[in-house]
Symmetry: C2
Subunit: 199 residues, 2 copies
Amino acid sequence: MDKVQEPGTEARILAAAEEIFMRDGFDGARMQVISETAGINKAMLHYYFRSKENLFEQVLQKRIGSFLPEITAAFTSKMTLDQRLEAFVETYLKFIIANPQLPMFVLYSLYRNPASTIHLPRTLFEVVTRYLQEEIHAGRMKPVDPGHFLLSIISMCIFPIIARPLASHMLGKDQHAYDAFLAERKTEIMKIIRVMTLP
Amino acid sequence: MDKVQEPGTEARILAAAEEIFMRDGFDGARMQVISETAGINKAMLHYYFRSKENLFEQVLQKRIGSFLPEITAAFTSKMTLDQRLEAFVETYLKFIIANPQLPMFVLYSLYRNPASTIHLPRTLFEVVTRYLQEEIHAGRMKPVDPGHFLLSIISMCIFPIIARPLASHMLGKDQHAYDAFLAERKTEIMKIIRVMTLP
DNA sequence: ATTTGCACTAACCAATTGGTTAAATCATTA
DNA sequence: TAATGATTTAACCAATTGGTTAGTGCAAAT
């Protein structure tokens, strides 16, 4: 009989904290609920992580750090500009549709406490910018401002997720119809990107 | 001596509640702080508004209702398609740049409690959709899905505001440079819109 | 002049909050 | 086996929370 590798206490706490902080936010989350979700005593939270603030910061940094490298990798893994942008959008959308609570959690947390951005890498923007400038210089792409270009793409990917309650109501779509709408997004965003980039 | 029309207690409470709820969110806001900001006793909050939840809902509905009609009006006030879209983007951007806390407040509140959407009008989307379909039918506009089109525009307007801490860090821009970046947005978004709509 | 009802306050309340402590248990090592 | 250090627990704590209460002052109505 193999003994199933059950996660240690610290990992269980982090997983529980992630779930509760994402659902309820920092102020709405209760240490008691986190400890119950992790199946342990409340005092253990303070034994492993000194305070609520520290526990929250750990969760936030862990989750922010997890997807930026993934996106950057998707972009650099393909050959042509169009392939790279398509891989970028596809990976981005797939990731946030699979983790729909993550964007709002990250954005709201940074909005309330911008100091948390300090530990973030800047590689994604640098990588994309350098590549776009090469393509533009070689005449394979219409000249665009890399900052505006990248932010517009990310806007169109993330916003429909974080604005879901408002957007689905305004478009008159129920749960199901809005999921279908999100599934069409990749195609729609790529249409816009192509018309922006084609020289 | 004219007596300056000082706002009544109820209005002072609403103004204070708006300020505190926007800054701290529902869970982070304290009734004590709201009452102090309004310059009154805490019991007055419950005298005029029964509970914290009710006070919050009043503030939320009031602020949501205030800018949707304004945007819709901007769109319908102009003649040509391009003029209408430009007025829409310009008004939208001007409004949220002047009220930068509003979008996150509304989106986060609805995200945490989607039930609050019930009382919202849907006129904006209907007005825009009908008009776009006419333009497309008349061959004055490239055929696009109105839902995706409208949501993409709104995404590109709002996202740089709510993602400010993250975006300014990733683009390597300080406070000042990011303000300048936001000021360029109208032009950049209009470029994209034109290339999407031109037949 | 007395009643009525609204606006307002100080004091209070039960419940909950994040955090602590001292003691118990477990595993490792000497 | 005895000692040692890490892990876990139940009980506790001071502070804060949203909300209540009984009563005060005051202007209009009777």
